[in-house]
């Protein structure tokens, strides 16, 4: 079927009862999808995942099969699976929706992972703000322990993640589960080497586990049958800045334009789109319109699919002020452990705000360029790198606007009020 006639909206992860009926019960889940195939939760599933080409949905787009294989090689039967549902990215809602509506898909994925890597425990890590997701998972875990499960149950517990941006970072998640401290730690060693309890830990995003649960039932070829570009399969995206914001499941490779149609946004009503969330970057709408939402293709053009955030900037909003607000948020969300991140991001945020308000000094633009240029790789985690990446994309996409703000104190967007010019 030609692309234009294929529906943008997919139903794989989100297939099943409508959203209004809330969390899917174990009975409905098993009736709809059947049990996990016998022997599914074993090393064999790793080869299937590798063949499927499934990429992680937590933001890094790392191949899931390879990740499981790395942990399996080290586990000695004593690994832990950490189901990452922290979703600290403010613009993203896909993980909480998946956890709230399809908890058994997520738990199936966790069981698969545990069997594949040789884990003796599953820890489900859910962000404190996602109450529906937490209730849904608590109930689902309860449902499973109440029945006689097949394959045999692995001890599963739920841990509530603090409501901080970096709480979902893998070393921070491990740190919190181990020592109630959700701040990233110095790596190496990374969790797949030494994680919870000092043992190899697989940290995997909930959506990735959901896909794995379906791949184990229907196969790699089934998974690869979906997709419009190089990367195969479907993915959840969070669409905002449109008439009908929300979480949608799409084929990877769907264009930004198709998504704008789905959500209701005319090209004339927007001048930029944020791809991948605060850890991603801006794209000018002219270049973005026909971009394929495909992790590999986006990385090749120095952009990011990230956690699947697609956020359109209104035509009358100012890219500089919006970026300043994001930088202020990122500075405040620093774990405050590393000097360069704390001082650097705070200084960049304050100066960007000055520029956004049209009150910049002459050298302010040069200042943030220098500070941002010095910041990459100088924290214990990648938080400053993500923030700097966002700033770099803003300087590129809204460069004209930055220069106008900095040198004239004026803005071309109505958001700016009387200083608009």
């Amino acid at each position: 079927m030609p692309d234009l006639q294929r529906p943008v909206h997919q139903r794989r992860l989100l297939d099943g009862p409508p959203a209004l009926s809330g969390a899917e019960t174990l009975t409905s889940h098993v009736a709809r999808l059947g049990q996990l195939p016998p022997r599914a939760a074993s090393r064999e599933v790793i080869a299937t995942l590798e063949a499927s080409g499934l990429l992680g949905r937590g933001g890094a787009s790392f191949p899931v099969g390879r990740k499981w294989r790395t942990v399996a090689e080290r586990s000695g039967g004593r690994a832990t699976v950490l189901v990452n549902g922290a979703e600290g990215e403010p613009l993203s809602a896909k993980d909480r929706v998946l956890m709230a509506l399809r908890p058994h898909l997520v738990l199936d994925g966790a069981l698969l992972a545990a069997g594949a890597v040789g884990a003796e425990e599953i820890v489900v890590y859910v962000g404190a703000a996602h109450t529906a997701a937490r209730r849904s998972l608590e109930r689902a875990i309860g449902e499973r322990s109440a029945t006689a499960p097949s394959p045999p149950a692995i001890p599963t517990r739920l841990v509530v993640a603090p409501d901080r941006y970096v709480a979902g970072e893998e070393s921070a998640a491990v740190h919190f589960v181990t020592e109630a401290d959700a701040r990233p730690t110095v790596t190496p060693p990374r969790p797949f080497e030494r994680g919870i309890g000092g043992r190899p830990t697989l940290v995997q995003n909930v959506e990735s586990l959901g896909h794995a649960a379906l791949i184990a039932r229907f196969g790699a070829d089934w998974f690869r049958a979906a997709g419009r570009a190089e990367t195969r399969g479907t993915a959840l995206v969070t669409l905002t800045g449109v008439d009908r914001p929300g979480v949608h499941e799409i084929e990877l490779g769907t264009t930004v334009a198709a998504l704008a149609d789905l959500g209701g946004k005319a090209r004339a009503d927007t001048h930029g789109v944020l791809l991948g969330g605060y850890f991603g970057g801006w794209a000018a709408i002219d270049e973005a319109w026909d971009l394929a939402l495909d992790p590999i293709a986006l990385k090749a053009s120095r952009r990011a699919f990230g956690c699947g955030v697609v956020s359109f900037l209104a035509a009358d909003a100012c890219g500089v002020k919006t970026t300043a607000r994001i930088m202020d948020y990122m500075a405040g969300q620093s774990a405050a452990q590393c000097g360069p991140c704390v001082f650097g991001l705070r200084a960049i945020a304050d100066v960007t705000r000055r520029i956004g308000d049209g009150a910049a000094d002459t050298d302010d633009l040069a200042r943030i360029e220098r500070w941002a240029g010095q910041l990459a790789g100088r924290g214990a985690c990648r938080h400053p790198d993500g923030a700097v990446g966002l700033l770099a994309s803003a300087l590129s996409v809204f460069g004209e606007e930055f220069v106008r703000h900095a040198s004239l104190g004026r803005c071309s967007r109505p958001e700016f009020g009387e200083k608009a010019a």
Partner: protein
Amino acid sequence: MSIQVDRIRCDGYGMCAELLPEMIELDDWGYPIVRPGTVPDGLLEHARRAIKVCPVLAFRLQAVPESAPAPAPIPLRAVPARGAH
């Protein structure tokens, strides 16, 4: 051998930059910016001295691992008016 900094331990004392200025300079807040890559043989003794002086043991020398080359730095300049011809 390359220099690995424990960014959490580092408290910006800056003595490392005094003893190894060829490879370490301080940012605007006194924290070290380390030139990536191998420490040249001629500087190894200076590097060891710099490591020993750090009051918080924030860095060490490490055998260079087989890893992918660092990604190209992101260009960071505000692009002025486009299409202004």
